[in-house]
Symmetry: C2
Subunit: 332 residues, 2 copies
DNA sequence: CTGTTAGCGCATTCAG
DNA sequence: CTGAATGCGCTAACAG
């Protein structure tokens, strides 16, 4: 920058001000500086800038468990679309479900002095997030509520959506309805299980615990679990799945077993209409989840000085989507 | 950090060294420092560190056009999995196909002094990347070759894969084969079109230009374009698509038209086996693309001092995958 | 093995 | 309106 200042025949200070559009700089002076910048190809060093400012690296950290899952990539995109408008960049950290990795990722983001963190914590232990928040880094949780500390969060209506999806199966006349879900430690999964149970209870249908399978993360595991349910002596006539991984796995099991088991699940997904099976899905706006999380974060960042406002919690609503057996065209 | 040093009764310098595992520090001293760190909850400020070092923010920038496309999220994941092992973090920038956004994103990454950039440039103008490389930031291109400057890159065998896919349709006896692809400015799309043309030429089948439709980015556009081809007086009996967006769009058009048009395309995708249609896909290891790009980048970062090595180019091979009409189970 | 000096590039403070 | 001094937090380079 000194080179620029010299070339423009001003002090480094004036050059700095000119670049930050400080109104106190004479237009003519600014022009000279800008010209020098262009000629020398100078670029301000944002690292030095943030060090000096003591805050504001212009980065927002997003911590997710699996970016390959469209759910998380859309979340990240939603965040980026909002913070990008404030000239903030998104740093994405993928934990691959590893709590240690999540912990170190968050620690690293704090050490980098990111302006804020949006996280989808994998497990129940959120002390690392609590620590980050305690150090003054705004934290927003997405799709999971904070446990053990205060933070803004944006949730999906897991309970209501799952109940509505299960009610749909009940309305179709099913009484033996299975449940396939994520490991119990996953908040959304257990919340959706609660919704499933509530629907059955309200319909006076007893829950047969043999029909409840938690713990499947990927489609292969889900297909295996679904296959086991279908192989029971009195198999369920319908399945409700807590996420798209389980729904797709269940679809494969049902296809393989050649039964006409009814299927419903949480999360819409591409080509759901093309599977040649009637399918009820609990849908919601995935991008909106990220956008809302980003909005909460920006708000928190703006008011970081002064009395911290009470933590806010928003809930994204769900809708039921029905796909027909042959919605897209003729079968084989 | 001064507080830590004081608490441990050493100088700031020694504290710094202790934290960086400098072997010259007495174990007992290190213990004292570590204890002080724990008690004070101190975290080293990585911003200051990178400023001092003058390089090495520990960040790798990944610039993609659309993170919602599994292709790009997998690429990013592949990159992250490799650079993560070197304690580097991944900054993801989404350009949403906007050249201006891409330009400013790259400029920003350079201003942030990222250690390297992996980019999938959207258009043919790569001057911003050339500028970054010229400023000493290692740049690796993924799935597109550099134009107008030298850089490492990792490509997919676009030409060979498309030719093989088209040959498969020819081998099935088709002679009227349509082509659906991305806008001409997209390198992969035109390369795959070349492969398609080569296959037809080698089989002495003239290319009917009415059958060639470029310009579809999303499935809806692709479905419309495919629908137009199928509505021709002498419609193609088979379609080759240059990417998964076009393949899925074509699938929808074929389903809607209830024809038995054969379908082949570049890019494997989830549920491709469940569409109830025979389908030939040109597959390749998407994660590997990112991993290899990361490897090239790490290599380049390591040898950034000294004579720059000649640019390297690796090509990821493709394989043909066949999905049957009713692979997963019974139809409607 | 440990401490002192100096400076990375920028922006706030206070003088001109 | 512009300039000079000072320090953000950290670490190479040189003492001791």
């Amino acid at each position: 920058m000194r080179d620029v200042a010299e070339r423009a025949a001003v002090s480094a200070m004036t050059a700095s001000r000119a670049l930050r559009e400080d109104p106190r700089v004479l237009p003519a002076t600014r022009e000279r500086v800008l010209a020098a910048v262009a000629e020398l190809g100078y670029r301000p060093n944002k690292v030095a800038r943030s060090l000096r400012l003591g805050h504001g690296t212009g980065l927002v950290g997003v911590v997710v468990t699996n970016l390959a899952n469209p759910f998380y990539s859309r979340l990240a995109l939603g965040v980026d679309s909002v913070v990008g408008q404030q000239d903030l960049k998104t740093v994405i950290g993928n934990t691959a479900q590893d709590p240690d990795r999540e912990r170190s990722l968050v620690a690293d983001l704090v050490a980098r002095r990111v302006d804020g963190i949006i996280a989808v914590p994998a497990g129940a232990d959120q002390r690392h997030l609590a620590a980050a928040a305690a150090e003054g880094v705004p934290v927003v949780l997405a799709s999971r509520p904070p446990v053990g500390f205060d933070a803004d969060c944006v949730l999906v209506d897991d309970f209501g959506g799952a109940r509505a999806g299960t009610e749909r199966l009940l309305a179709m006349g099913h009484r033996r309805i299975g449940f396939l879900g994520s490991p119990p430690a996953v908040y959304t999964g257990t919340e959706r299980l609660r919704g499933y149970r509530a629907a059955l209870r309200d319909a006076d249908v007893p829950v047969d615990e043999r029909y409840v399978r938690q713990g499947q993360r990927e489609t292969a595991e889900a297909a295996a679990a679904a296959g086991e349910l279908l192989a029971l002596p009195d198999p369920p006539t319908a399945l409700f799945c807590s996420n798209n991984r389980n729904t797709i796995g269940a679809f494969r099991a049902i296809s393989a077993a050649a039964t006409d088991t009814a299927l419903a699940g949480f999360d819409d997904f591409e080509l759901a209409d093309a599977l040649g099976l009637p399918l009820t899905l609990v849908a919601y706006d995935r991008d909106e989840l990220g956008r809302e999380a980003a909005r909460l974060l920006l708000d928190r960042m703006r008011h970081s000085k002064g009395t911290p406002a009470a933590p806010r919690r928003t809930v994204v609503p769900t809708t039921l989507v029905e796909y027909g057996a042959r919605h897209v065209g003729p079968g084989a």
